[in-house]
C-alpha cells in the first residue's frame, strides 16, 4: 500500500523539484485526514504543491485567493433569486470541493478565516439556516505568508490548532533550482500529472492509518515529549491533548508510508516539528523561535526510559 504513496510522491516530484520530504509530509497529513498549512514566502511553489497533490490524488480542486475584502459568502456560497424557477437557489461556493486551496489565508479578515476554519472542523456548513455537508474526502490546504509581512491578519492559536501540520517549503537546493531554470514551466506540466491514488485507495489508506500498532513503549515516549512541552520553562503553553492526538495520528500515517505496521520513535521524530511547531508558543522571556522549541523537545527527551 505504501507503494502507492511512493508513486504519488514521485509524480509530484516531477513538478516540484527537490522537495521530497515536504511532499511526503503533505501526503502524510492528508492520509491522516488533516488539513495542511503551508507557510512560506510568495513564489516558493505552494500553489503548485497543492495543485499537484489534487491531481495525483484525483480530487476536484478549487482555489480561493484570500484578500482583505473577501466575505464568508464568497467562500461558502450564497442563495440567489432565480426568476425562472421563482425561488432562491443556492449557489455553492468554492468550499464545496474535495481539495480547497485557501491561498494566503492570513490576508483575509478574521471573519472569513473563521468561516472557513469552522467548515474544516465540522465537515459541514450552515448557510441560511440549512446545513449542508461538504464532500468527502475534504481537505484544506491553506497557505500563509510569514505574519511579519504587512497587511496580514495572523491566525489565532485556536485556529492554528485546526491544522494538523504546518510545513514550509524553503528555497530549493542549487541543483534543483538549476534544473528548474533549465526546464519548462512546471505549470504547463501540471495537467499532465497522472492520478496515482484512486478515491477508494485513499479511503483505504486513511482506514489503514487507524490500524497501525502503537506500543506502550512508544506511548511512553510520546507522553514524555508532551510532558516536556508542558513543563519546560521556555514554552509558554504546552501541547494540548488535541496536539498529542495529532502527533500520534501523523506518526501512524508516517509509519504506514514507510510500510510498517507499527510506529517507531523515529516516526514521531520525523513528523514532530511539522505537527507541534505551530501549536507551541515560546515564553515571553525567550527569543528562540518555534522551530528551536521543537528541536529542543527532540534533543532533551530520551527515547528509552
Amino acid at each position: 500500500m505504501h507503494k502507492l504513496v511512493d508513486q504519488a510522491v514521485a509524480e509530484v516530484g516531477t513538478v516540484l523539484l527537490g522537495k521530497e520530504q515536504q511532499v511526503r509530509l503533505a501526503l502524510c497529513c492528508l492520509i491522516a485526514q488533516g488539513h495542511l498549512l503551508i507557510e512560506d514566502l510568495p513564489g516558493m511553489g505552494k500553489t503548485i504543491l497543492s495543485n499537484a497533490l489534487a491531481r495525483v490524488l484525483g480530487l476536484d480542486y478549487q482555489r480561493v485567493q484570500f484578500t482583505s475584502d473577501l466575505l464568508p459568502a464568497d467562500v461558502l456560497g450564497v442563495s440567489i433569486f432565480d426568476r425562472q424557477a421563482g425561488g432562491f437557489q443556492f449557489m455553492p461556493g468554492p468550499i464545496f470541493s474535495q481539495l480547497l486551496l485557501a491561498d494566503e489565508i492570513n490576508r483575509s479578515t478574521p471573519k472569513t478565516q473563521s468561516a472557513l476554519l469552522e467548515a474544516m472542523e465540522e465537515g459541514q456548513v450552515s448557510i441560511e439556516g440549512q446545513t449542508r455537508s461538504l464532500p468527502t474526502p475534504f481537505f484544506v490546504i491553506a497557505t500563509q505568508n510569514p505574519s511579519s509581512q504587512s497587511g496580514t491578519y495572523p491566525l489565532p492559536e485556536s485556529q492554528l490548532d485546526r491544522f494538523l501540520m504546518r510545513i514550509s517549503l524553503g528555497y530549493p537546493s542549487l541543483a534543483a533550482e538549476r534544473k528548474l531554470l533549465l526546464g519548462d514551466d512546471s505549470r504547463q506540466k501540471l495537467p499532465l500529472l497522472k492520478q496515482c491514488v484512486s478515491k477508494d485507495q485513499l479511503f483505504a489508506l486513511q482506514k489503514a492509518v487507524k490500524e497501525i500498532h502503537c506500543s506502550e513503549d512508544l506511548l511512553d515516549y510520546l507522553q514524555r515529549l508532551i510532558a516536556f512541552s508542558r513543563k519546560h520553562k521556555e514554552i509558554a503553553c504546552g501541547l494540548s491533548p488535541r496536539g498529542a492526538l495529532a502527533l500520534l495520528r501523523c506518526a501512524k500515517a508516517w509509519a504506514l508510508m514507510q510500510g510498517r505496521g507499527h510506529v517507531v520513535p523515529e516516526d514521531i521524530q520525523v513528523v514532530l516539528p511539522s505537527v507541534v511547531e505551530h501549536r507551541l508558543e515560546h515564553a515571553a522571556d525567550f527569543r528562540a523561535d518555534a522551530a528551536g522549541l521543537s528541536q529542543l523537545m527532540l534533543a532533551e527527551v530520551a527515547v528509552l526510559n
Binding site: 513503549d217 505496521g261 507499527h262 517507531v264 520513535p265 532533551e300 530520551a302 527515547v303 528509552l304 526510559n305
Partner: protein, 664 residues
C-alpha cells in the same frame, strides 16, 4: 544579579562600623561601576587599572591602620577584595566564586561579635547569599522573582534538624592553632595603670562588661565591689600593677576571721565579655574551680590567657575571709613604697594628719574625713593635672572621679607608712529581674583602695563614698550633676531612654535574650555539653553515643533508601531495555554512543554507516539485535512471542559481547 548585590550589601553592612570610610565609598563606586557595565555605558576595568586598584587598596589600608597585619586590616583587605570582585564577576563561575568569598567574609563578623543579634544578622545574610547561589541556577524570570529565596528557605528548613543534632552532639574542639593578631581595637576597660585622667572615657561606655548570676542570696548593691586588678606599685605619679602580682599563686590560702560572725559565702557564675586582658572580676575573697581560671597572690582570679571571647566561670566568694593576715617584710616594703619625692604638699598633709591621730585606724578615718569635709567635687570631666598631680588634686582643684580619690587616698595612707594599694574594677551593677542576673556595664568601672591592717588583712576603703554618696547607691548614669555631660557624650544610646519605662523594659528584655543566647548557645561546649548529654542520656559511653546516632540517623537513612527504591521501581528498566542499553554500551567501544534522544533505528543506521566502526559481522549482529529490540518494543506482540524475542535478544547480546571482547 539582584540577589548578589543585595547579599553583598548585607555582608558589607555587618562590618560597616569597622571599615574605613574610604573603603565604603570605594564599595559604592564598585556598585555604580558594575551597574554601568551592566547597562553597557562603561567598560570593564582593564588589567592595568585592576593592578592600580590593588596597589591603591594596599596603600589605603596601610595608611588607615599603619599596618597590614592585624584583624581589622585583614578584614578590610578582604572586604576590599570582595567589593572589587564585583567588577570582574560575569560568568556563572565568577559569580559562584564571588558568593563563596561572601560566605567567608560573612564568617569574619563572628571575630568581632557573637551576640544574638549578630547571629540573627548572619543567618539572614546567609539566607540571602545562598539565595544568590540558587538564583545562579535559574535564568531570571519575572513571575518567579522570589523563587530562589523560597527554594533556599526550604533547604534551610530541611537542614535545621541536622544542624540541631550536630549542635547538641558534635564535640567542640579547642582551636588547634591560634594567631595572636595585634588588635587595634583594644577595648577600653579597667587599665593596669592608674593616673588621674585614665578612666574618664570608661564612664561613657554603656557596653556590657560582664554579668553575674547568683545562686541563692545576692549581696546588697553597696557590697558589690568587683575586684579586677590590684595596683600596688606607685612610680611617683601613677599606680601600676606590680610585676610580682602577675605571677600565679598556687597555694592561696584563705583564712577565716576569728570572730563570731559566721562565714558568709555567695555562689555565682559570671559570663565575662571579651576584655582583651586576662582579668576576671569577682567579689572578695573568691575562689573558682573552673578550668583555666587561676588564683593570684593578691586574691584575684585571672584567666590563663587574654579573654578574646565570651567566657563563663563559676565563683565562690567568702566575704568574711581575710586577705593576708600577715605581711612579710619585703611585701610590706613594696606596699608602702612611694617612689620619688613628688607631691611634697600631700606628704606634708599626711604627716600633719598622722601626728594628730592616735592610731593607724584613726589616721585612716582622718584621711576619709578630709575628703568629706573639704570642698571636693565629683565630676567626670576633671581638669588636667600637672607634675605633682596628687598635690594639685588634694589641695587645689579638688575635682575628680573615683580614680583621683582612690589613688590620692592610697598615697596619703602610704605616706604614713601604712600598706595600701589601689584596686581597679567595677562597682554595683544593674539587676535584671527577668534573668535574675546582675549586669555590670563599662560605666560601672570604679577604683577604690585597700589598706592592710594587722589581724584584719587587706580592708576595703572607698574614699569616693565620702564625696558623693549617690555615686555608690546609684550608678554613674543616674547621677544628676553629671547627667548632662554623660548624655551629651553618649550620643544615640539605648541608655538614653532609660527613663522611659517602655524602652527600659525593652532593653532589659533584649538583654535577657542576649543572656540566654550567651549561656545556652555560646557556652554550650566542653563540660556543659557533656553535662547536657549526660542529663538526657545518662553516662556518656561510646555505645550510647553510637546508639543515639544510629537511632537518629536510621530513620533518615531508611527514608532515603525507601525514596531511592521508590524512584528506582518507578524507573525500573524492563529486561529488554536493559539488554538493549548494554548492547549500545558495547558500541561505545567503537566510539559510537547512542544519544538519549536517538531512536534505535536511527542509531543502528549510524552504526551501519560508521566508517571506523566495528567489522561488518559485528555490524550485522548489532543490526539483527536492534531489529529484535524494535520488534519487542514497538511491534504488536503476544506474550509468548515476546518472551521468545526477549530470550533471543539476550542471546544476541551474549554473542555480540563475545565477538567484541575477542576483538580487543
Amino acid at each position: 544579579m539582584i540577589w548578589m548585590l543585595a547579599a553583598q550589601l548585607l555582608v558589607v553592612l555587618g562590618h560597616v562600623g569597622r571599615l574605613p570610610l574610604w573603603l565604603l565609598c570605594a564599595y559604592g563606586g564598585c556598585v555604580l561601576w558594575r551597574y554601568q557595565i551592566y547597562s553597557g555605558a562603561w567598560s570593564a576595568p582593564k588589567t592595568l587599572v585592576k593592578a592600580g586598584i590593588i596597589l591603591a587598596v594596599f596603600a589605603g589600608i596601610y595608611a588607615s591602620y599603619r599596618s597590614l597585619l592585624g584583624l581589622e586590616p585583614m578584614v578590610s583587605l578582604l572586604m576590599a577584595g570582595f567589593a572589587f570582585k564585583l567588577l570582574e564577576s560575569y560568568s556563572q563561575r565568577d559569580c559562584m566564586r564571588f558568593i563563596f568569598i561572601g560566605y567567608f567574609t560573612l564568617a569574619t563578623v563572628f571575630l568581632f561579635n557573637q551576640g544574638l543579634l549578630t547571629s540573627l544578622y548572619v543567618l539572614v545574610t546567609l539566607l540571602l547569599l545562598s539565595a544568590a547561589l540558587v538564583s545562579l541556577q535559574f535564568p531570571p524570570h519575572k513571575a518567579q522573582a522570589w523563587l530562589p529565596l523560597k527554594k533556599i528557605s526550604i533547604i534551610f528548613a530541611q537542614a535545621l534538624p541536622l544542624t540541631l543534632l550536630l549542635f547538641f552532639l558534635f564535640p567542640r574542639f579547642e582551636p588547634f592553632w591560634q594567631i595572636k593578631l595585634p588588635s587595634h581595637q583594644a577595648k577600653t576597660g579597667v587599665g593596669d595603670v592608674l593616673s588621674p585622667g585614665d578612666i574618664s572615657q570608661l564612664s561613657k561606655d554603656d557596653s556590657l562588661a560582664f554579668r553575674a548570676n547568683f545562686v541563692g542570696e545576692r549581696p546588697p548593691r553597696s557590697e558589690l565591689y568587683w575586684r579586677g586588678v590590684v595596683l600596688s606599685y606607685f612610680d611617683g605619679r601613677a599606680w601600676h600593677q606590680g610585676t610580682f602580682q602577675k605571677k600565679f599563686h598556687g597555694s592561696n590560702t584563705i583564712e577565716l576571721v576569728n570572730n563570731n560572725e559566721p562565714a558568709k559565702s555567695y555562689q555565682y557564675s559570671i559570663i565575662q565579655e571579651p576584655n582583651y586582658r586576662p582579668w576576671l572580676y569577682t567579689l572578695a575573697v573568691a575562689s573558682s574551680k573552673t578550668p583555666k581560671v587561676l588564683a593570684t597572690s593578691d586574691y584575684r582570679l585571672q584567666y590563663r590567657e587574654d579573654i578574646v571571647e565570651r567566657i563563663a566561670y563559676q565563683v565562690e566568694t567568702n566575704s568574711q575571709a581575710i586577705m593576708a593576715s600577715t605581711l612579710s617584710t619585703v611585701q610590706r616594703h613594696k606596699e608602702t613604697l612611694l617612689n620619688g619625692d613628688n607631691n611634697p604638699r600631700a606628704r606634708a598633709l599626711a604627716a600633719r594628719l598622722y601626728q594628730q591621730s592616735a592610731s593607724d585606724q584613726a589616721y585612716i578615718q582622718a584621711v576619709l574625713n578630709y575628703f568629706a569635709q573639704q570642698n571636693f567635687f565629683y565630676t567626670l570631666m576633671p581638669p588636667l593635672l600637672g607634675e605633682n598631680n596628687i598635690d594639685e588634686f588634694l589641695l587645689d582643684s579638688r575635682r575628680g572621679f573615683c580614680g583621683h580619690y582612690a589613688s590620692s587616698f592610697a598615697f596619703l595612707i602610704r605616706a604614713a607608712g601604712i600598706p595600701a594599694r589601689v584596686i581597679g574594677g567595677y562597682q554595683g551593677g544593674e539587676y535584671n529581674p527577668l534573668t535574675g542576673s546582675v549586669l555590670v556595664h563599662q560605666f560601672d568601672a570604679h577604683a577604690w583602695a585597700e589598706v592592710w591592717l594587722p589581724g584584719k588583712g587587706w580592708q576595703r576603703f572607698d574614699p569616693t563614698l565620702q564625696v558623693a554618696p549617690d555615686r555608690i547607691e546609684n550608678s554613674v548614669q543616674d547621677l544628676p550633676a553629671t547627667q548632662a555631660d554623660y548624655l551629651s557624650q553618649s550620643g544615640l544610646s539605648v541608655m538614653r531612654f532609660k527613663h522611659i519605662a517602655f524602652f527600659n523594659k525593652l532593653r532589659l528584655e533584649l538583654d535577657a535574650m542576649e543572656y540566654r543566647w550567651a549561656s545556652w548557645v555560646l557556652q554550650y561546649k566542653g563540660e556543659r555539653q557533656f553535662a547536657f548529654i549526660e542529663k538526657w542520656l545518662g553516662a556518656i559511653t561510646f555505645t550510647r553515643i553510637a546508639f543515639l546516632l544510629l537511632l537518629v540517623s536510621l530513620p533518615v537513612v531508611l527514608w532515603l533508601l525507601w525514596s531511592i527504591l521508590q524512584n528506582r521501581s518507578a524507573q525500573t528498566l524492563k529486561p529488554q531495555d536493559a539488554d538493549y542499553q548494554k548492547l549500545c554500551q558495547l558500541m561505545g567501544r567503537y566510539d559510537l554512543h547512542r544519544q538519549p534522544n536517538e531512536g534505535p533505528i536511527a542509531f543502528a543506521q549510524r552504526v551501519e554507516q560508521a566508517a571506523n566502526g566495528p567489522s561488518a559481522a559485528i555490524k550485522q549482529k548489532f543490526l539483527a539485535a536492534t531489529r529484535l529490540y524494535v520488534a519487542l518494543a514497538y511491534e504488536p506482540q503476544g506474550g509468548e512471542s515476546a518472551a521468545l524475542l526477549a530470550k533471543q535478544l539476550r542471546a544476541e547480546l551474549g554473542v555480540l559481547k563475545g565477538m567484541i571482547h575477542s576483538h580487543f
